[in-house]
């Protein structure tokens, strides 16, 4: 790194880390002579939002020796990573001519776009390319939020809108907090989440972690750890409901005033629907959690009011994950813990409500570029179970309201089979922005096969990721350190002006620069008729919470003072007449007619436990006896930062295996093991530990797929093992996977 240590004091530029780790934290970047020399974080007035190790290592990411600094053209086989440098002119000309060729030969539906949240900011993000493709005639999109589709379905059907959690300082108002499959010690989940959990524990709040893994959150915040088999969480929640009903501990007033459908749910719980009472003994068999533990937790949840049940997205990333979030919402309603201080509205582990939505979605510059509706979306009928999408207007397209969109989990299958396989299009060209698709979607080996079939792939990236290695043309993008942008820090709440710290490295360009040049070559010169600064001025002007542009830019971090904690759905609970839930009934729907109308027994109108595939009762478990979960790693944000040595050294990519399971296989910590099932295999370091349930193994997701000549992954990419199957209502199923582990 070319930093002159004698002169490391230069100007200090304020920006916001923009890495999709779950937080958005202020960085104060020291710049001398056009070079970043070091990084501080928020040291201003409290509440300070302090960046984590990932943000602190960002200088090393910017100057990483493997940063892509010029456009590349593939010269070797797809996936091998053999490229030659080409000029921007040549690169853009190739992209344009391929877009035109594919459109002419096959129609716009053959153009497939996949983007993700690599840049969580309002101007420079993947949506710019989507808008451009609309103006160019349309594209085939996908649907499905990998993190939260199960939670989103539960919120939209139960509340009629996205909304979950209270602002984090409200943890201090709780008497009981249940961290259900949630590990904010690593995944952060906005601002000072973990700090307030620690403060709550210190203030005497009882905190319990329900999780197959003894996470760092369980270790630091919780007084009790309840291990549970992956995929069975709903059964435990139902048994807790059974305890509340039979002991008459549920909040009749809340249920009467604010919910519909409790009676149907009660019939199911008591076994009047299927002859099976969902009692704690029933749940013990399924979950592995002793019935007395379930009874105690249920009684605690009813008696220690207010109580916050935080339902982690991770649990929703299983088969029937939407049932878990629906059941959590029902439990919180049964105890009257929604819409009150110290309580929490389940639906996922973020904190957001109506006050936050306009902050994050409505401000996107891409939505101001008036690409209009995507012709490919409009041409196809509405997808039948698109309850989530139908409530989100134009954004619904991104959520999959049109049948032209294939769920992300099935994209590889759709590429391979096309219309003959019942998919809406025959994809020929793939445009990837900010997405490590090979690595981060299920069944990596199938994705690899699919990508080899396409006629053309273009990737916008900062690094030669496992996905970029499949591109025919790679367009190098800059990092947020090299451009101006605006973002929000979530329900901190604060806004951030992301000041450019340095010039773009090499020939890398911003997303806006790339789409502007593509638009001009496509003959759409008015596509982005504003400069970066003009777009940002317009966004800031339209955001009522923000001061005047130059003041905000200088300020960098604009903290919004809350006079009291934000409580999700407080307005609805205080005054339902004037603030009904936007559901058909105006109330929280424990029973949903909209779901009933789908007439799909695997998407029941009340939350139910449905046994998943690839669980410990599956005959396949004889061959592959271990349940795999794929969690977040402290050294990465999903697959970002995996190539940064300063972060790699803080944690080893390893499979966590219970010490007893390890012993059975003659495995010791540090051994190299082979992990495999019928979809793929890898070699990885083993860590034998008492901190995971027997029968369960954990491979943190995001490590980069690195196959050897026999397609044996050496990088520890969890998705070589996961199944490309979705839950019936769209939840991703990364955590529903059986594997075997053996010593190499």
């Amino acid at each position: 790194m070319a930093t002159d240590r004698k002169n490391r004091y230069g100007e200090v530029v304020t920006t916001i880390c923009n890495s999709h780790c779950g937080g958005s934290c202020p960085l104060k970047v020291h710049v001398h002579g056009g070079i970043i020399t070091r990084i501080e974080t928020d040291d201003g007035e409290e509440p300070q939002y302090r960046a984590c190790a990932r943000g602190r290592a960002y200088r090393h990411r910017v100057y990483s020796s493997d940063r892509l600094t010029s456009p590349l053209k593939r010269i070797g086989e797809r996936g091998k990573g053999e490229y030659k440098k080409i000029s921007w002119d040549e690169a853009l000309d190739i992209v344009i001519s391929e877009l035109k060729r594919v459109k002419e030969n096959y129609g716009t539906s053959a153009i497939l776009f996949l983007g993700s949240l690599g840049d969580v900011a309002w101007l420079h993000n993947a949506a710019l390319v989507e808008e451009l493709l609309i103006r160019a005639g349309g594209y085939s999109g996908s649907w499905g939020s990998a993190s939260g589709e199960g939670g989103l379905f539960a919120m939209m059907t139960s509340y009629g809108m996205p909304g979950m959690g209270n602002s984090r300082e409200d943890f201090l108002n709780s008497r009981l907090i249940i961290l259900w499959g949630w590990n904010p010690a690593v995944s952060c989940n906005f601002g000072n989440t973990r700090l307030y959990l620690a403060k709550a524990r210190e203030a005497g709040v009882k905190i319990i972690a329900v999780d197959p893994r003894h996470t760092d959150s369980a270790a630091v915040f919780a007084q009790q750890w309840i291990p549970i088999r992956p995929g069975t969480d709903t059964a435990m929640l139902l048994a807790m409901a059974y305890v509340l009903i039979t002991k008459n501990l549920h909040d009749h007033t809340f249920l009467n005033n604010y919910t519909v459908g409790f009676e149907e749910f009660k019939k199911y719980i008591m076994g009047k629907e299927d002859g099976v009472p969902k009692d704690p003994n029933w749940a013990e068999e399924i979950t592995g959690v002793p019935s007395h533990t379930i009874i105690t937790l249920a009684r605690d949840f009813a008696s220690k009011k207010p109580a916050a049940l935080i339902d982690g997205f991770a649990v929703g990333r299983t088969a029937y994950g939407e049932q878990f979030h629906r059941a959590a919402i029902t439990l919180a309603a049964m105890t009257g813990n929604i819409g009150i201080p110290g309580g929490s509205a389940p639906g996922g582990c973020a904190a957001m409500g109506d006050m936050l939505l306009p902050l994050s979605l409505g401000q996107f510059a891409a939505l101001r570029m008036k690409g209009g509706d995507n012709p490919v979306d409009l041409a196809a009928p509405t997808r039948k179970n698109a309850i989530v999408a139908s409530r989100l207007g134009r954004l619904g397209f991104y959520m999959g309201s049109s049948q032209s969109r294939v769920h992300r989990t099935h994209i590889a299958d759709a590429i391979l089979k096309g219309r003959r396989g019942g998919y809406p299009a025959d994809y020929k060209l793939l445009y990837l922005v900010n997405i490590n698709y090979v690595n981060q979607m299920s069944n990596t080996n199938k994705i690899v096969q699919a990508l080899k079939k396409l006629e053309f792939i273009v990737v916008q990236e900062q690094f030669m990721t496992p996905t970029a290695k499949f591109a025919d043309v790679v367009l190098p993008t800059n990092t947020f350190m090299e451009r101006n942008d605006v973002t929000t820090g979530g329900i901190g709440p604060f806004y951030g002006y992301m000041n450019r710290a340095i010039n773009s490295l090499g020939e890398s360009k911003s997303h806006l620069e790339i789409v502007t040049e593509l638009a001009s070559r496509l003959g759409i010169p008015d596509f982005s008729n504003k400069t970066e600064e003009e777009w940002l001025r317009e966004i800031v002007r339209d955001c009522k919470d923000l001061p005047e542009y130059d003041t905000f830019k200088n300020e960098g971090i604009h903290k919004v003072t809350l006079t009291k904690p934000f409580v999700c759905f407080e307005a609805q609970i205080n005054d339902l007449v004037n603030h009904p839930f936007p559901t058909p009934s105006g109330k929280i729907e424990i029973h949903s007619h909209e779901i009933a109308d789908l007439n799909n027994p695997k998407i029941p109108p009340i939350p139910k436990y449905i046994e998943t595939w690839e669980n410990c009762n599956d005959p396949l478990s004889k061959k592959y006896p271990l349940q795999l979960i794929t969690t977040h790693a402290k050294r990465r944000a999903h697959s970002q930062f995996e190539n940064i040595p300063l972060l790699r050294e803080i944690d080893t990519q390893a499979i966590l295996i219970n010490a007893a399971d390890a012993q059975l296989r003659g495995i010791y910590s540090g051994d190299t093991v082979r992990v495999f099932n019928e979809r793929g295999e890898m070699v990885i370091t083993a860590k034998a530990t008492e901190r995971i349930m027997p029968g369960v193994v954990d491979i943190p997701q995001g490590a980069w797929y690195s196959p050897d000549v026999d397609a044996l992954d050496q990088g520890g990419c969890a998705n070589v093992l996961t199944k490309d199957e979705t839950s019936p209502a769209g939840a991703f199923c990364f955590n529903t996977t059986l594997v075997q582990v053996e010593k190499v």
Binding site: M1, T3, R5, K6, R8, R38, I39, E40, T41, D43, R50, A51, C52, A53, R56, A57, R59, H60, A185, V186, N192, R194, L195, A198, E202, H214, D216, S217, A219, V220, W225, P227, K634, R635, P645, L646, L647, R648, E649, I650, D651, N658, A659, A660, T689, E690, R691, I692, M693, P694
Partner: protein, 204 residues
């Protein structure tokens, strides 16, 4: 190499009386082992990825399923009251500043790992003095962020901690605020060197 104001203290190596002693506080009940302190330190002091780290974290795991116990411990040089590293140095390159008790290495004087058996590293019960792997590498370790100290700022590790598990300052002030617990899970107080750190311990 950035030249810090090394201060005074060299003249009295045997009995060091400091006017004021700076030290650390670590709240072990709060640490989530996120390594932000370590990464912030390496970034601030321009230390590349590799074995050298002025601050380090240990994970202590005990107990058996389903009752494991986990504690993290974040440590650096502890600027001891009686540092063993000082008397063993053959060239008196290590000294303790009279004005604040910070233990400093004069890297220009240090002989480096090819001419010295790294006696300071062996003498320290906490292995705080560090040498890179390359031949001739000189000793380096935490110097309490002297550059930040000069600006009235706390060390970068303290200001980075998302959990506010670290603090620093005159040790008497820290004791008045946090108590005088000198041991914690994974850390044994060495009466030989008398490390300057107090803890809020986590007990299994």
């Amino acid at each position: 190499m950035f030249q810090y104001n090394l201060g005074t203290g060299r003249e009295s190596l045997e009995i060091i009386i400091v006017a004021m002693q700076l030290g650390f506080y670590f709240d072990q009940t709060r640490c989530v082992g996120c390594y932000t302190c370590v990464v912030a330190c390496k970034d601030w002091h321009d230390i590349a990825a590799g074995p050298v780290s002025w601050r380090w974290i240990s994970a202590i795991e005990k107990g058996t399923y389903p009752n494991p116990f986990v504690a993290y411990l974040s440590l650096s040089c502890l600027h001891c009251e009686q540092p063993n590293c000082i008397p063993v140095c053959p060239v008196n390159a290590i000294f303790k500043r009279k004005q604040d008790g910070i233990v400093i290495v004069d890297r220009e004087a240090c002989l480096g790992n090819s001419k010295c058996a790294m006696l300071c590293k062996d003498a320290c019960p906490y292995s705080a003095p560090q040498f890179g792997e390359e031949s001739g590498a000189k000793m380096q370790k935490c110097h309490f962020c002297l550059d930040r100290l000069a600006e009235g700022k706390k060390p970068i590790c303290v200001e980075s901690c998302p959990m506010r598990a670290l603090d620093s300052g005159p040790i008497n002030d820290l004791i008045a605020r946090y108590g005088d617990t000198m041991e914690t899970e994974g850390f044994i107080y060495s009466s030989d060197v008398k490390p300057i750190i107090i803890f809020k311990p986590k007990r299994g």
